[in-house]
Subunit: 394 residues, 4 copies
């Protein structure tokens, strides 16, 4: 990892949707701890030597704020996460200032207000972000959605174009699901956007139109942090060796916040769709098997995934591969969230707008331009990432 | 996989060192079964669509022969392997002719003849191969070493250059270990060479000099068929995500022929060195952990490997990944051996000589030109393979 | 295992409900192969030295028949199972006579006949069994239910007592689920009964009353062959070491006939209830976790179960145990089915009637007398089995 | 677990050999924490309801002291262990007094003093224990060996009887290995003895003679805390189901103090012998497979064991069971050490002398009277333990 990287001047803001959640809290703690040199930048892709000359904003220059519907102080959330094993408690005493600073920049999120059009709520969210940028004299702000997973969006005609959407926002209640309302507010505030969850977010045609119109980059969706990370590392092995995968089954046990959300079958549907996407892309149709997500409260922040893969080799011989992944979700997600804010900020400096396909490396279900093929193989994604920020593939 | 690939004219011979072993026998059975359309070409990399236009020799045009020190008929070996679950017994009745044809072309191998110089033995081996090529009017023969693993070679001055070697072969006994004697004979017979084991083989400077001199391609060493295959698929995940691997431990249980060989600590040393090479290249120094190879006779042809990887993520958080691989070694190795013979034959048609680095995809410890960096990441190896045979990287 | 056991005189009939299914077919194949000395009696509890002097009927004296709703010949089923890896194909040629003999004694099962009372169907089933016993001059017949799992029974007043049941059978359609209709017929034919599935079977009060009235022994329910077998071996370890199990999660992958049945959530409910029973009995309430049963057709007869157990030790320290079981269900069930027929037959010779609690060793959800405590610990169950048939605990 | 158990009057001393090691430190911490009601008695067998009326000494009445060759303060060791995840750091502030009290009672252990007879050293060790008992007015002291594992003892004639031993101690240097010297001192101090390691300890005939002579109870050897615990839970499953285990292979990864010791092949030999004992006793001869113990320093106190069991079922069908155990050794051992001190103290109150076979439940390689059969099955061992202390089996 780099010791004297080339860094861009100016400062970048990171605005979290879900700013008091586990991922955002861990990201704020980690940015402060790494920035202060208390811990090495383990888990931060942007700090690899490969990106030493990419001109990414420095981690200790990031300024944090965000929206959240709860009001638990960040310092308290940080203590809970330390007690749950996400990071060592002895880090916290040195980070009080950083946590308070971020805490002061968290605004109440949009609460469901049934029966009223969302235009006003959107405007208020936008103003929160603009005011944050002005107050801290930031070059730009990247909005990162790390809030709870929502069910797939119910299709509506209002989602089809920017003009129909804005017409509807002014008059019809509940046009946008929350994640899309935040994304709309981010774009209106002239911000790049990162969808770290599988929620609808920016994926509606009307919002993609707005991003293109305003020349804003966006990345997503659904951070690839555990089981799917391993799947996209292993999947190509079978494909490139001409081994025929017959079934790929998985069970995830988790107890943290996302566990409770995903115990709801509707929310789990979003997640499962996004998890299955890569397998089909890498291995073709016809792979049997289910993926379960079980909420096991006593497991806390530790997530355990078991995958069983049955495949055929030469002359039809049956073989299997199993793996067990034991990870701490927030500790896996937080550095990637920081990476993404930095990469998206740099993309914008390069004048890149629309879906940032070169960031596919970070996602279960990467956004892409219409008709563009999708790459799920982890190493190929990494090479694309490196080439783009080195200027070879822009 | 391709249905009407572009195929090179002429016929290619495959000469096995260890022609009555599990891998060679399975390769002969499989080439015949696939060639006859009895089974799909599962496990054969050369049959992927990616190589449809690569001009590789067709699998049903391969002609087999080889050396072996035992004389068990191939048909009997094939029955034993079918009984051990390597392939379905019902395939065999249709393949009698193919097995007899190969069986007739197997000649007695070089037996240790203590006290006598090896020049004469080398000449006899070379003549066997030349005679095979002439008899079948083959365009070329590729020699593939699938014999038992030998200990690392004891360094001798005679290995340092072709002239000192040939001088020593004429007068000094036991200059070359068997795998190197076979490799020498192969080069003398004007053949490309594939080292599918970690034995010394062609790796001595004198033999590399001879290969360069005669413009012959060679590939190796140690086929990547199981645990190491998975390791090179998973390793880059940790490296590219900036996760710090603290330990990588492995235990292999196997009962087949190679199991008995590797129960000998000296032979296991060759294997372990070759297994560890890739981990260090991908993850750097300082990864703790051992790799065990246990001979468990009752497990027969089934090989089971368990790997445990302990790593640190963001803020030092400890996590683990474990995998269990249950594979049938011979069924994994046999299609690769056929692939390699075809790829090396095609390399030669392209005029390529010396170490074939683009074949690193197949090996635990890939040969390379002096000073050339080595790529262990499986997907990157695959992309290099594809590009080379597509002509993009030659 | 015993070489010259003490065997009871006379012959015992085994009447399978589901006589053409995987378990019954494997049992017939196995009894013939063991009886003929072709294979050792691996997997047969009754052949352990512990039961050498228990006076059990000899395996080669068993006579087979049964009911089934399909008419695939047993020899064909046996071939399919051999191809699926349940037993070696080379056994079959020697067993043709035994398979034909059993095949000739299989009668069409009761087909749902909506709208008609079941009295007549019950009578026909009973007559099939009686006729089988007479024709072969058997001392007794034990009826063993190895048919597909049914959903839990819908409670009806008619199930509450024998008199209300018999009144209803005469006049009301569909009073009994199929498994209970077969159990009723078995008791009417004066037979002991074994419920190897979790179907309602003999568990209705009216049928238990009939068994007591006629002095017939019965055993059940749901054969303990895989995941639950391991659970009842491991569960006591936690309990006796005062370790606190926080969660016990499981995923079963299976492709055989039972897999398809259990893909139906209603049938799976019976199975899951029976699987959870033991955990609660051994570890108390409050153990989190789910158990999944996934139908993965390509896995065929091989069943794979992964269990994850999270527990707390001294001072609240978190620890885990995981296991992966890879078994062949029919090969595990078949010898137990033969064991049960022999043990129940012997129970009857001892004059034992009603629930045979000493056979709890074989079942996920052991039958017991009203108010009797249930023992799930595998070793304690074995000791109880041994003591009973040795006469120490009768 | 019991809330108002019947407790014996008087106080019991626990004297640790290796009093500053991980196990002893955790035991002192845990006894204080449980005694103060800060944590429930998870992991303490003696606190199960089954032993509520057994008259065991209360945990909060135990008084600790011991020998050790290092002088790291207990409080510091406790902090290290808490940092390593053995118990929660927040427990420690409340336990300062208890740790200091124990710390004050730790005396320097016997250092190797080559060339001098051991009689004097033995006398000094004995005096330390006697003085501890007198100072605290204890009813009795139980000596518990939790020091590092030693290699198997080299047989010497002096070990064969008490008279030859005492003669040699007076004149010959290095007669006894350290663990046996401590055991000799314990017996001379009129103490019961617990061997929690596989070291020679009290197993020499001369020492057993001395224990019998003085009417002292002893228990051992080698605490069953992890892989072997699971093995003795699972082994009977195969035996009682007549399944034929073909191989049982294991790999242990550990980084704690015992890990470094066991990286020495000689010390590992003691451990492996004791680990293999139970498998052979439960499953008979001829089970293939090795057990590895790998020292992986970065894994710290966490011990991971993977076991692979290949077995045959009915008709020779091959199946497997694998398990992965992830435990914290000291947290598993410490409550057992407290249990053992209490059980041995109670045995002595009952007048029991010599090998305490009813404590086999706690050990990998249980001591027993000459010719007595050994029981390795975990549940049967528990039943024996319960029966003995309930008075049913004394």
């Amino acid at each position: 990892m780099s010791d004297t990287p080339t860094r861009a001047p100016g400062r970048t803001g990171v605005w979290f949707v879900g700013a008091r959640g586990s991922v955002a809290t861990t990201a704020v703690v980690g940015a402060a701890a790494v920035g202060a040199g208390l811990v090495p930048p383990t888990g931060m892709v942007a700090e690899l030597d490969d990106f030493r000359d990419a001109g990414l904003p420095a981690v200790d220059g990031l300024v944090f704020g965000g929206h959240d519907v709860t009001d638990t102080p960040l310092a308290k959330r940080a203590e809970e996460l330390a007690a749950g094993g996400v990071f060592p408690p002895e880090l916290l005493p040195a980070l009080g200032t950083a946590l308070s600073a971020a805490d002061r920049e968290i605004r109440p999120g949009a609460r469901p207000d049934a029966g009223r059009p969302q235009e006003e709520a959107a405007r208020a969210l936008t103003e929160d972000i603009v005011s944050f940028r002005d107050r801290h004299e930031l070059d730009q702000v990247v909005v990162v959605d790390v809030s709870s997973t929502e069910p797939p969006a119910v299709p509506r005609p209002a989602h089809d174009s920017l003009s129909t959407l804005e017409e509807a926002l002014a008059h019809v209640p509940d046009v946008l699901p929350p994640s899309s309302l935040y994304a709309y507010a981010a774009l209106r505030a002239d911000c790049g956007h990162v969808a770290f969850t599988p929620s609808p977010g920016l994926r509606l045609p009307a919002l993609r139109e707005l991003a293109e119109l305003r020349g804003l980059p966006y990345a997503g969706s659904d951070g690839k942090t555990g089981e799917t990370l391993v799947r996209t590392a292993l999947g190509p092995m079978f494909a490139h060796r001409a081994l025929r995968v017959r079934s790929w089954s998985g069970t995830n046990l988790l107890g943290g916040g996302d566990g409770a959300t995903l115990a709801d079958p509707e929310a789990a549907r979003s997640k499962n769709t996004s998890k299955r996407t890569g397998l089909t892309a890498m291995l073709g149709e016809g792979v049997e098997g289910l993926t379960h997500i079980d909420y096991v409260p006593s497991m806390g922040e530790l997530k355990t995934a078991w995958d069983h893969i049955a495949f055929e080799g030469f002359l039809g011989t049956s073989m299997t591969l199993q793996f067990t992944w034991q990870g701490v979700d927030s500790a896996l997600a937080a550095p990637l969230v920081l990476d993404l804010a930095r990469f998206v900020a740099r993309s914008r400096e390069h004048g890149a707008a629309g879906p940032q396909e070169q960031l596919a490396f970070f996602f279960k279900d990467p956004v892409r331009a219409e008709g563009s093929p999708v790459e799920h193989r982890l190493v190929a994604q990494f090479e694309a990432l490196r080439a783009w920020y080195a200027g070879d593939a822009r």
